[in-house]
Symmetry: C4
Subunit: 289 residues, 4 copies
Amino acid sequence: MESEHKRSWKAKLHEIIYEADTPAGKLFDVILLIAILASILLVMLESVNSIAEEHLSLLNVLEWIITILFTIEYILRIITVKQPLKYVTSFYGVIDLLSTIPKYLSLIFVGTHALVALRALRLLRVFRILKLARYMGASNQLAGAIKASRAKIAVFLFAVVIASIIFGTIMYLVEGEENGFTNIPKSVYWCIVTMTTVGFGDIAPQTPLGQFIAAIIMIMGYGIIAVPTGIVSAEYTKATGSKEKISDEEHEQLKSVILNTQCCVNCLAETHQDNAEFCHKCGCKLHHD
Amino acid sequence: MESEHKRSWKAKLHEIIYEADTPAGKLFDVILLIAILASILLVMLESVNSIAEEHLSLLNVLEWIITILFTIEYILRIITVKQPLKYVTSFYGVIDLLSTIPKYLSLIFVGTHALVALRALRLLRVFRILKLARYMGASNQLAGAIKASRAKIAVFLFAVVIASIIFGTIMYLVEGEENGFTNIPKSVYWCIVTMTTVGFGDIAPQTPLGQFIAAIIMIMGYGIIAVPTGIVSAEYTKATGSKEKISDEEHEQLKSVILNTQCCVNCLAETHQDNAEFCHKCGCKLHHD
Amino acid sequence: MESEHKRSWKAKLHEIIYEADTPAGKLFDVILLIAILASILLVMLESVNSIAEEHLSLLNVLEWIITILFTIEYILRIITVKQPLKYVTSFYGVIDLLSTIPKYLSLIFVGTHALVALRALRLLRVFRILKLARYMGASNQLAGAIKASRAKIAVFLFAVVIASIIFGTIMYLVEGEENGFTNIPKSVYWCIVTMTTVGFGDIAPQTPLGQFIAAIIMIMGYGIIAVPTGIVSAEYTKATGSKEKISDEEHEQLKSVILNTQCCVNCLAETHQDNAEFCHKCGCKLHHD
Amino acid sequence: MESEHKRSWKAKLHEIIYEADTPAGKLFDVILLIAILASILLVMLESVNSIAEEHLSLLNVLEWIITILFTIEYILRIITVKQPLKYVTSFYGVIDLLSTIPKYLSLIFVGTHALVALRALRLLRVFRILKLARYMGASNQLAGAIKASRAKIAVFLFAVVIASIIFGTIMYLVEGEENGFTNIPKSVYWCIVTMTTVGFGDIAPQTPLGQFIAAIIMIMGYGIIAVPTGIVSAEYTKATGSKEKISDEEHEQLKSVILNTQCCVNCLAETHQDNAEFCHKCGCKLHHD
């Protein structure tokens, strides 16, 4: 049965590319990680003029190697999934495509080099490969705390923006164009720089009144930072406290789900339990070797 | 009865302008929000010289449209309230007036353009329309935590100011006028910039002793920020903890009061319960369609 | 009995100067506060060249008025206390003297003007007059939290200094004199500026390696700040939690001690209970009008 | 028995050099601390050109005195330990050697002066001498809190770095070389400077779009700092809370282990109990005088 043999071949590749439970799968992920880091390093080095001029052809060759590797990976990912459209339209699918095509486009158009920088977005895959994001949210503590505080922190950051608009307008009127506050948007930008305690110093108030208002803005910014920090801290304390109630058994089960890297061949669903035999989302059979 | 018909017409308008429970009322609020944002964008664009010169007449026309819209809104607000003086003298009433009149004044006087910037204060209405401020304080947690910490944070910010005056004076004596510390107020300003970790760098100590004192000021500022943050955090933890004691029923009732947008036609009082029939402040009948 | 009459006169003055329970005592404190703020404002204005030159004689007259007022206050404080030496050698006694004599010294010596700046230290009396420091520590919560965290925060700030010395030395070797890192002390100063996230920008790394190390220093500084903040927060939560155990009665009593401004005529001891009749430190009779 | 006499002499020296329970041991530690601080001060002063030129020979003599003292200490440390290789290859052993040899190397080679700066690493011994690190972790609270939060804080700092690479690339495309963003690595460096709220200002966005993105980066950085702070705070609260369960007796025992400075003559193991007679690691007899 050739068809079944072929499917088994696809299934094996799927396991290597999308999962990390087998040695081959782990090796693939490590190589992918190195390739991503190498590709970003390449983009960085190319942007340094002195290096780019000296090693022009070498960088070009390396660039093509990376691009071809990414192309192969992209094609394999499409082949080994039952519903290729689902992968292509997914977040990582779009990034994978966008970080691969610029080099091909550079053959036809001139000046598309900038698109190569999109490759930096592939770095987000690090979170996926290392299962960092998931590990952090392991016991739902941190994820819960951030979710609970998100709205409140957003309101505070929003308040910082409104305060910046109001104070930025005032500073524009007080300092005027001769002291670098050439227009209100620039003045608002300065206000955000000051309130977040960044303080570049490319624009700085020169008049005594302007410096007095600036002092008030700074002290306000210094005081405001206490609020979101306090919220996260309290929410996290609460989330951590309520966790104690989860029994050890439940915790073990949760952990097995979180660190399991199985990925359904059909619908790409994840978070299966270690002993699961069918996908919990589409009912497709999961493979165990 | 013409009078009653007229009153009913007023009541309907009141509902649209001051409340947000009906589709018409929600639409009005969304349009108002867009108008405010547009008016602020206009003021910002006008302050950019290159844009102001190129699109002078267009900006002027848009400015007049916004002003007329705000004028109509202001008049309607006065008409539909039983006690107009209460609205006119209220916080939002004053801001609404101040953000409307500058354009009219510009016809008579020259240089009143700056007043247009006052319009930025209308942004505060965003909090009212989106019920943000209230939503945040929903279960009285955050509001309580901030109220409880306010005095203590104020004392710390006050301590920062006093320390700035003392260290500013010392820096003036150490660095002197030749290094940019031209007078004590400027020196105190520099000290606040440093202690809040903003650090513009427009003034920076040049002498070894000055840099040594600056290092102490910075480390102090870095250490001090821990205190207000810790206070808010602890107060919020406490406030969140005690909330648990409120029963679900009470919570539901509280929420209904907070998210209800009814506004008394007579005295502009808010925070009515969903099933309230009379204003809890002046006893005036509330309308239900 | 002349002696007794005289003593009663002294006692009344003591009550006015050192305490704030009678209307006269409160008035004295308010006037003193205004005089201190005025004297600091004077020192500040004198340091501004343009103002100092224009209003030379006016500032001189005001300076003398303030000095004479402070002199009278200083003499009265000595007269009305039974143990004048205790006041003279106390912290506030030394500051009061140092902020009064510079103007007299300026008659004899030239260039003692700088000493006038010492007057800024009188601002510390604000804490005493407004009972701020005490109010904050009211229920021993905050004071306890800070005392408990002090050692740990100090260790962290100490760690920041050691890290600054090590990284400062490295940056001196990497960047060298041509990029502004002229010597190790300056390099260490730059490192403190960076690690506390102040970032003046008067010195900034120019070499790629220097910028890479700077990035590590910044991220470290950004991460380190979390530790002292977390400590204060946790200690304060603990201190607040244990407070609940104090009964309302005890709390009331504590508060009466804290807000009472009585001050023993003999030994200047404070923190008496409202109904106390004798000083709890030296047994001297307290006066009640 | 000469051999035993000799061993006893070694044992006594071991006690003086490695421990701090006897007066002689304490004195040695204090002298060592002063010598380290003096040696660092020397390195700093030598780097200041004006001082180095004026006091060339004096600094050279002091440098040799310090170097000889460190050499004697290093030799004594090797002699008094049963397994010298264990000390030589230990962290402090390597630092001790590296901070001693540069002066000798300067006799043979030119330009090894830079190595003297390695001496700053000896400052880390301060933590050991003052038992600071241990005192902090006394009841395992802080150490536990930091250990528990370490992974999560690392993930956040890692997120800051990834965000910096992505935003740095975007800023390079937006601002370009003419505004100081000459290449992507420099752009990423700028992004870290901004996100950690350091803000040097040596590079600052000039285009409106660049300033808009910068504002977003700043507000993000301002919001992100709340997360690690909240984590440490919550973990520390938890660690402090669970401590209560340790009985006073256990606490006393723990403390005795932590503040005990005994150090095994054979394997350099530490953390012995006060009444311990044999090393808990190698079984070698500990000496009691």
